[in-house]
């Protein structure tokens, strides 16, 4: 049997050490800059949760350190158990407080962003279709007619990753690119996400956008880029041996530059 002041101090110290490590880590700036309109609200949810959980982490570990240090004093009888009233408070209050913080984060901060992000895109939104393939991204703009041409699996070939139906008039002005998405700043983008083999995931940290691409489904999200620049697009869902290099680039340009770029694109240029 061990009964020791020294052990108690070491253990209390370890609990405080957890907090030291957590704060040391928290000092470094981790989150990438925010480059989309809804990104600020996503970040607010993250920051709020980080602050709240940080508070709980400190409170919990201080309580542990204190209880352990007290137990190591080694002299005298253990103190009496708390009164029934105190017991009820200890049981109920932290739970209610925690639930209020957690559900508050969802109901107040999160769900409005969520509803907007998955809700209908504004009418002036730029339409872009992104199709995941093992292991590249096929990006398609509908062209001047605003309509995407039909595609079919039977027509897919090495030089035609979507299997575009050329007899469809809507297909003639479609613009198809690989692994690069060009977007104008400050204009909403309506993304149509598809996959033709396995599940992929469209992940651009700066945009605070992540969405799986599921074969057999067309999944819609919309967002508004607010910061010009080049951002890395990563596949975030295990999709096969080339998963780690399924990388693309999102290039957000000023509206004028974007329109110039778009005008230079012939149908189906690469």
């Amino acid at each position: 049997m061990v009964r020791g002041r020294a052990v108690a101090w070491w253990l209390s110290g370890a609990m405080l050490g957890v907090l030291v490590l957590a704060f040391a880590l928290a000092l470094r700036p981790w989150f990438p800059p925010i480059a989309s309109a809804h990104g600020a609200a996503v970040q607010k949810t993250l920051d709020f949760t980080l602050l709240a959980t940080g508070g709980f982490l400190v409170a919990g570990h201080l309580a542990l350190a204190w209880l352990i240090a007290r137990a190591g004093r080694g002299s005298g009888e253990p103190s009496a158990a708390p009164s029934p009233r105190t017991r009820r408070l200890i049981s109920v209050l932290p739970a209610l407080f925690m639930a209020a913080v957690a559900e508050g984060g969802v109901l107040v901060l999160a769900l409005p962003v969520w509803a907007r992000y998955y809700g209908p895109a504004p009418a002036d939104a730029l339409q872009v279709e992104v199709t995941g393939r093992q292991f590249f991204w096929v990006v398609r703009y509908p062209g001047p007619d605003g309509r995407f041409g039909r595609t079919s699996a039977d027509r897919v070939a090495t030089d035609d990753p979507l299997g575009l139906d050329r007899s469809d008039p809507a297909a003639t002005d479609d613009i198809v690119l690989l692994n690069e998405i060009h977007l104008p700043r400050d204009r909403p983008v309506r993304l149509l996400l598809r996959s033709s083999d396995v599940i992929h995931s469209f992940w651009v940290p700066e945009m605070r956008v992540k969405q799986n691409l599921v074969p057999g489904m067309i999944i819609e999200i919309w967002f508004t880029p607010t910061l010009a620049g080049q951002y890395e697009l990563a596949c975030n869902q295990i999709c096969g041996l080339g998963h780690y290099r399924m990388r693309g680039v999102v290039d957000v340009a000023d509206p004028g530059d974007f329109e110039r770029w778009l005008a230079e694109q012939g149908p189906e240029s690469r």
Binding site: A95, R133, R208, E232, N236
Partner: protein, 585 residues
């Protein structure tokens, strides 16, 4: 009630129906699987921290997977898939439920054995082949399954989708199906035994919390595992017989269209997580039960809020069955469902906080005996807090959208179903080892084990949470492909070094275990910790049938430790005149 003592070696140690032998069989199998699963983790960490590095000595060991000294990406995916599968099902489930469940249940409820000893034996002898098939899948063409431990189709359903989707994936499915059958047999046995075989006087509210948590976990397992069995059979059918449960029309692989149509990849995710989320609680609850059972005798106080803990555990179990969708916020599932699952998931904070606070408050005012079992429980309490708080990020649909499938998730679940459960296993092992073998584990090595493990767990897995904040993807084989991940290289190396030390610390435990089996200090006292629950009234190790004489009858609660009480107050003796659970002052 008592059945005859088995005679020969085979019926006594191999095809035994004795719950203690079966418990140890499970425990040792889990330990062997843990070493293997840990080695896989080391390979993963080598690759992530030093991507594309040439390891000539590894190429000699693994000529195929490390051809030319550099790890192949498909091997890396097999590593992460098999590490997850092995650790979740064949280590934690096996050690906590198969191992401690079998060993401890009859001893703590005053029964001579499980309700169905033959079924119990059969359950182990299905689990072992399941484990061997899972291990063997590394040796087949294409290697082991490589679609993640969640095996999402089409990656897991289409053979040409990834090299591991050949025979390796089929063996994965067969092994999982066998494991689930075994687990179901065990669960039926646990529930029946706990409900029916309790000794005289042992009412439900006199059960030790380990028994409560094992009961709840078994009920959850019985409800949640069958849908995965069904899903596994459907997946096998899609793979082998051309059905389309999970495969929609329009699939193209290598520019060739497939003939499937009409299926839904999301169906698998619903079925998988319908098991997968309760499984988290199936694993974690018994670890919390063990924590309560260890705290009480070492703090010499009744546990705080026994009844509110039991009620909260059942509420957690009920809620855990209806929140699986929080694994699917970005899956393409109807966004309205995401809102409902977010509100439901965060409701779990209420019962979970009650249990957590009750654990911590059980330390209140005690004078501890700082033996190794208590050290691991104190570590576990810290992990439950830190890991549990991560759940507030992932339960919330919007913060999960950012963090989903990043290293934040990896850090989070390694705290919860990795190290909370492992520290529960360790606390239970240091605590019950004298009962199991009549010897005690070495205290000094136990302390070395703790003091190496605790800080390393934090350095490895807390740091991973922060890597997730940058957006680092969880399955990435080579982070150097991305400019935004390059600055993390130093931290990834730090994590890997800490992970290697963490693995070495577990070898200290295994060495201690092996050494103490033969050379550990003999424990003559059947109740070395002066604990009150029934197992401590049986001899160490308990004979076949557990008690040489009549079964003990119960006259008191499991935690009747009073202020200043050094003496035992076994459950089998009447409680002191003033009920010890009430404050005396």
């Amino acid at each position: 009630m008592s059945h005859g003592e088995p005679g020969g070696f085979w019926t006594r140690y191999v095809f035994s129906r004795d719950h203690k032998v079966i418990g140890l069989q499970y425990y040792f199998t889990a330990m062997a699987m843990a070493v293997f699963g840990g080695l896989l983790a080391l390979l993963i960490r080598m690759q992530v921290a030093w991507p594309a590095r040439d390891w000539p000595w590894l190429a000699r060991l693994l000529p195929d997977a490390m051809a030319g000294g550099v790890m192949k990406p498909e091997f890396y995916l097999a590593l992460v898939t098999m590490h997850g599968t092995i650790m979740v099902f064949f280590v934690i489930s096996m050690a906590l439920l198969g191992g401690f469940g079998n060993y401890v249940i009859p001893l703590q409820i005053g029964a001579r054995d499980m309700a169905f000893p033959f079924l119990n034996m059969l359950s182990y002898w299905l689990a072992l082949p399941a484990a061997l098939i899972m291990l063997g899948s590394f040796l087949v063409t294409g290697g082991a399954a490589a679609s993640g431990w969640t095996a999402y189709p089409p990656l897991s359903a289409v053979k040409q989708a990834v090299p591991g989707s050949g025979l390796g994936q089929t063996l994965w499915i067969v092994s999982m199906a066998l494991f689930i059958v075994s687990f179901t047999m065990g669960g039926l046995n646990f529930v029946t035994t706990i409900l029916v075989q309790r000794t005289r006087g042992l009412s439900m509210f006199r059960l030790p919390l380990t028994i409560w948590t094992l009961l709840i976990s078994s009920v959850l397992g019985l409800l949640a595992f069958p849908p995965l069995t069904a899903a596994a059979i459907l997946l096998l059918s899609d793979r082998e017989w051309g059905s389309s449960f999970f495969l929609p029309a329009g699939l193209v692989f290598g520019d060739k269209p497939l003939a499937h149509q009409g299926g839904s990849p999301l169906l698998w995710q619903h079925l998988f997580w319908f098991l997968g989320h309760p499984e988290v609680y199936i694993l974690i609850l018994p670890a919390l039960g063990i924590a309560f059972d260890v705290i009480a005798p070492f703090v010499r106080r009744p546990v705080f809020g026994y009844r509110s803990t039991v009620v909260s555990l059942w509420v957690i179990a009920a809620l855990s069955m209806v929140v699986w969708g929080h694994h699917m916020y970005v899956s393409g599932m109807n966004p309205l469902l995401g809102e409902i699952f977010a509100v439901g998931t965060l409701a779990i904070t209420v019962p979970f906080t009650v249990v957590g606070v009750n654990l911590v408050a059980s330390l209140w005012g005690g004078r501890f005996r700082f033996d190794t079992p208590l050290l691991f429980v104190l570590g576990l309490l810290s992990f439950v807090g830190t890991g549990g708080l991560g759940g507030l990020f992932l339960g919330n649909a919007v913060s999960d959208m950012y963090l989903h499938a990043t290293y934040f998730v990896v850090g989070h679940f390694h705290f919860m179903i990795g190290w909370v459960t492992l520290f529960g296993v360790f606390a239970g092992t240091y605590y019950w080892f004298p009962k199991m073998f009549g010897r005690s584990l070495n205290e000094t090595l136990g302390k070395v084990h703790f003091w190496l493990s605790f800080p390393c767990v934090y350095v490895v897995f807390l740091t991973m949470h922060f890597l997730g904040f940058t957006g680092m993807m969880r399955h990435i084989y080579d982070p150097e492909q991305y400019a935004f991940l390059k600055p993390l290289a130093g931290l990834n190396q730090l994590i890997s070094v800490a992970a290697f030390v963490l693995f070495a610390a577990q070898l200290v435990f295994i060495a201690n275990f092996a050494w103490s089996l033969w050379r550990g200090r003999r424990v003559v006292d059947p109740d070395p910790w002066k604990a009150n629950t029934l197992e401590w009234t049986a001899p160490s190790p308990p004979p076949h049938g557990n008690w040489p004489g009549p079964l003990p009858a119960v006259q008191a609660g499991p935690y009747e430790y009073g202020p200043g009480a050094e003496e035992r107050r076994p459950q089998s003796e009447p409680p002191p005149v003033a009920p010890a659970s009430e404050p005396v002052a």
